[in-house]
């Protein structure tokens, strides 16, 4: 696809026009020349002097060349995106920890469990915090840049939703594999114990055999209780995330629908602004015409007049 860059030509015109303009504007406020000279000093670094700015700072701020200071809510949105980034890295770690825990190991695997637990909690906490901050973002009250704020909110909500869905998918696959493992592991243990018990069957009598069985049962009970606990925790976090997702889905745009069209959003803004204006005008009118206070005061005055008349009538007669 072809494009053509006209910036050079534009800059050439701008510079030549500026030099034409410079001698003329010294009589006006000092804004123009100061900026021009400041930029020429950038262009010609060999020049050793920079002019001292003599005009007041209020004027110079009008011609800011650089990007100005953003409003406060931008800081909040940046915080949220930083949190989202942190959550992403933690989720990558969580994925690795899941994989490690699923590998068959000789040890107890308790540290792995702890790590997974803590990581999961951290990620969930981060996501929940981001979601709360996101809700706060919208509460800041209507202002001129409310549509910008709404759009920032939307894009952050989309990212957040994606992350929570990813997290839940990871957790559910881990759960599934864990369950499979539990069954397999249980069978394996049973088989091992079963074979060993069969070997010793001839040597021991029934009482000892049942002791073995008891210990075997106790051990498998402990294991299953542990696994239950893990599963319960994972399920809890799944539910929490479900809640987050429900809240977020109100914010996120459905792709492919009319709400996702740029022209629809522009029209809507225009029409809601118009509607808002009409409502305001109507409210103003009703407020003005509903001069309850005026009515009441007129009535009170009338009452007073009548009272005075009554008193006068009494006095006269």
């Amino acid at each position: 696809m072809a494009t053509r860059n006209r910036t050079l030509l534009f800059r050439k015109y701008r510079n030549s026009l500026r030099s034409v303009r410079a001698p003329m504007t010294e009589s006006k406020s000092g804004v123009g020349p100061v900026i021009e000279m400041a930029s020429t000093s950038l262009l010609h670094p060999k020049r050793s002097y920079t002019p001292v700015s003599t005009e007041d700072p209020a004027n110079s701020s009008k011609g800011a060349v650089t990007v100005g200071l953003p409003p406060d809510w931008v800081d909040v949105s940046e915080e949220i995106s930083v949190n989202i980034q942190r959550a992403r890295t933690k989720m990558a770690e969580l994925g690795k920890a899941h994989a490690k825990a699923l590998m068959p190991s000789f040890g107890d695997g308790k540290e792995d469990q702890h790590q997974i637990e803590s990581l999961t909690q951290e990620v969930t906490l981060l996501l929940r915090k981001s979601e709360k901050q996101l809700q706060r973002l919208s509460k800041g009250g209507p202002s001129e840049d409310s549509s910008v704020r709404k759009n920032v909110q939307r894009s952050l909500a989309t990212d957040l939703q994606q992350l929570s869905m990813e997290l839940r998918k990871k957790q559910s696959t881990y759960l599934k594999r864990l369950r499979l493992q539990k069954e397999d592991g249980g069978d394996l243990e049973m088989n091992l114990n079963g074979s060993s018990s069969r070997a010793e069957d001839d040597d021991f009598d029934d009482i000892l055999f049942s002791e073995h069985q008891m210990s075997k049962i106790k051990k498998s009970e402990e294991i299953s209780v542990e696994r239950e606990k893990e599963i319960q925790q994972v399920v809890e976090s799944v539910n929490e995330l479900a809640q987050i997702m429900k809240d977020l889905s109100a914010l996120v745009i459905d792709q492919g629908t009319i709400v996702d069209r740029i022209d629809y959003n522009i029209q809507n803004v225009a029409s809601t602004v118009e509607d808002g204006l009409k409502q305001l005008q109507k409210a103003e009118r009703t407020q003005r015409s509903g001069g309850m206070v005026k009515c009441a005061s007129v009535l009170v005055i009338l009452c007073f007049i009548m009272l005075v008349l009554l008193i006068l009538k009494e006095i006269i007669f």
């Binding site: 534009f10 990007v67 100005g68 894009s155 989309t158 479900a242 792709q255 069209r261 740029i262």
Partner: protein
């Protein structure tokens, strides 16, 4: 894919090198160009958090200097004036200006003059100056489309503006494709000839450096033709999904406004999007006829009901987790199903109310088959039928007049009188005006296939085939024949001469057909089907607008009104 992808690439390039929060500013034409290929959520991903129109910017006074402004507008003098004012009082931190077509040096000068604060960082030309609705179909969405029907003397400046806009649009298409074509035009149309010559002048003389692309084996072909060569296609009622929606309800920039129908419950969507890029069901059904669509929709509804039932059956926590996982997909599917069901229901209601099955059968007979006597009988019957609406009566008489213009003038007159007595709403003489514009003497192509023996024989063979296929979609637009001639390398020089000393060896591999006066969705369907046959030639179709019968009649009326007032003045 081609045109849509190039416009998306342009927009991506505009946004990718600018970091930080951005505001995108469009004008009333570029908003269509952008909205049809790029979605709001994609803009949000590129950190564009505000979209505004260039008209409404000066109204608001708050300064948002933490935003960088990206302007994408047409290089018109009005836009340049508005930019002047906005650059002199900048609201945003940085300004990046992108124009959708060629800038004149004077315009750059004006902009440079007003940029006292030096906020402009770049000025570029990105040639996305057309509305790319479908992969091989674009339009220019022009407002005063009727101007092409009027002779130049009536409104010379208006016609000049019209022609300039068309030339700009065509130039933008070729710049986006990075090609310089050989140009041919329809001999019988003055407007087409003028546009072809001015395009050639732009591409080969005025901006020959810009258009000097790498020469490929065979040059592409630009064919400029006139709507009036085939006035039948826009008048016919349509029965394939996309064309039918446009004909009965109206499709603008791939959006359908259901408010026009007015019989919907409150909570229904009032506007829906029908885009082949985003809607898989629509993509596979947009060229299917009404009966097949009904069956496919029923299948889709059945699938959806199954999914809905399984979603209601939640018993364990796993089910719940699965439901929440699949919820976005489920919601999307639900929205899609309800959209298509609503559309098809509304269209069925309209078909029933206007008795369109009956009317359309006669229309197709008029357009495709012979028999003047039988046609006269059929049209008279429908004119007498009370439930046929005025616009349908007008269309029938027009189709009859176009077909049997010279045969049996007495009966033709009788039809005119009957129409005038039944439908006083329509201006007198609209049918006669149509004949003057697009009658048999004015047309180049063999619209009804009855000019030579070969065509008559072909028609008879087609008649047999029709018995198997659908009666309502037997019509083939004239464009089909034109594309066939190009494919065979037999487009007659007499009818479609080359501009100047252009010359084409062999067959072109890429052809852009531009129809002055507008295209129809039936023709875009024809082009898409032709491209899918892999004949070695890729066709792209474009026009000044996308017509349905209402729009075509509106243009005719407007042209008639102007030419009448003009003749009074003379």
């Amino acid at each position: 894919m081609v045109l849509v992808t190039t416009v998306r690439d342009y927009i991506n390039r505009m946004l990718q090198d600018i970091s930080g929060m951005k505001v995108l500013i469009l004008d009333s034409e570029t908003v269509s160009n952008v909205s049809i290929v790029y979605s709001q959520s994609e803009l949000l991903q590129k950190e564009v958090f505000l979209v505004e129109m260039i008209d409404s910017i000066s109204a608001s006074s708050e300064s948002m200097s933490h935003l960088k402004a990206v302007y994408f507008v047409r290089p018109t003098s009005e836009n340049v004036q508005k930019l002047r004012y906005q650059l002199a009082n900048p609201r945003f931190g940085e300004y990046h200006l992108f124009f959708s077509n060629l800038l004149k040096d004077t315009q750059i000068h004006i902009l440079a003059d007003s940029d006292e604060q030096e906020v402009v960082q770049q000025v570029q030309e990105f040639y996305a100056d057309f509305v790319a609705g479908d992969p091989y179909h674009f339009t220019l969405n022009m407002a005063s489309n009727h101007l092409y029907m009027l002779p130049a003397v009536v409104d010379p400046s208006g016609l000049q503006r019209y022609s300039d806009r068309v030339v700009d649009g065509i130039a933008a298409v070729f710049l986006a494709l990075k090609r310089r074509p050989v140009i041919r035009y329809q001999r019988t149309s003055d407007t087409a000839k003028r546009i072809a010559q001015e395009t050639a002048k732009l591409m080969y003389q005025q901006e020959s450096g810009l258009f000097d692309f790498r020469r490929t084996e065979s040059s592409p072909l630009l064919l400029v033709i006139d709507r009036r060569d085939d006035p039948v296609t826009p008048l016919l009622n349509q029965w394939t999904y996309q064309a039918m929606v446009h004909e009965l309800i109206g499709l603008q920039d791939n959006k359908v406004d259901l408010r026009a129908i007015g019989s919907l419950p409150k909570d229904q969507q009032v506007e829906v999007v029908l885009s082949s890029e985003q809607d898989a069901f629509f993509k596979s059904n947009m060229y299917e006829n009404f009966g097949d669509i009904g069956m496919n929709i029923k299948r889709m509804v059945d699938d959806f009901q199954q999914v809905a039932k399984s979603n209601q059956n939640i018993q364990t926590v796993e089910d719940m987790a699965r439901f929440v996982d699949n919820y976005p997909e489920y919601k999307k599917m639900q929205g899609n199903v309800s959209k298509h069901v609503t559309l098809v229901t509304e269209m069925s209601k309209l078909v029933e109310a206007r008795k369109l099955m009956l009317v359309s059968q006669t229309e197709q007979d008029l357009a495709c088959n012979g028999g003047q006597g039988a046609a006269y009988e059929a049209v008279t019957d429908l004119l007498n039928n009370e439930s046929v609406s005025d616009i349908d009566r007008l269309r029938l008489v027009m189709l009859y007049a176009l077909r049997y213009e010279k045969e049996n003038p007495v009966q033709l007159m009788q039809l005119f009188n009957k129409l005038a007595s039944r439908s006083p709403k329509y201006k007198q003489g609209l049918v006669q005006f149509l004949l003057k514009q697009a009658g048999v003497e004015k047309r180049t192509g063999d619209l009804f296939g009855n000019r030579d023996l070969l065509n008559i024989a072909r028609n008879m063979a087609r008649g047999l085939k029709v018995w198997v296929e659908n009666v309502y979609t037997q019509h083939q637009p004239l464009l089909f024949q034109t594309m066939e001639s190009i494919t065979r390398g037999r487009l007659r020089d007499v009818d479609y001469p080359f501009v100047g000393d252009h010359f084409q060896q062999g067959r072109p591999q890429e052809v852009v057909i531009f129809m002055v006066g507008g295209t129809t969705y039936e023709e875009s369907r024809c082009v898409a089907l032709q491209n899918s046959t892999n004949s070695g030639i890729r066709f792209i179709l474009g026009g000044t607008a996308v017509l349905n019968s209402k729009r075509f009649l509106m243009d005719l009326e407007e042209a008639q009104r102007i030419s009448r007032s003009g003749s009074h003045m003379v």
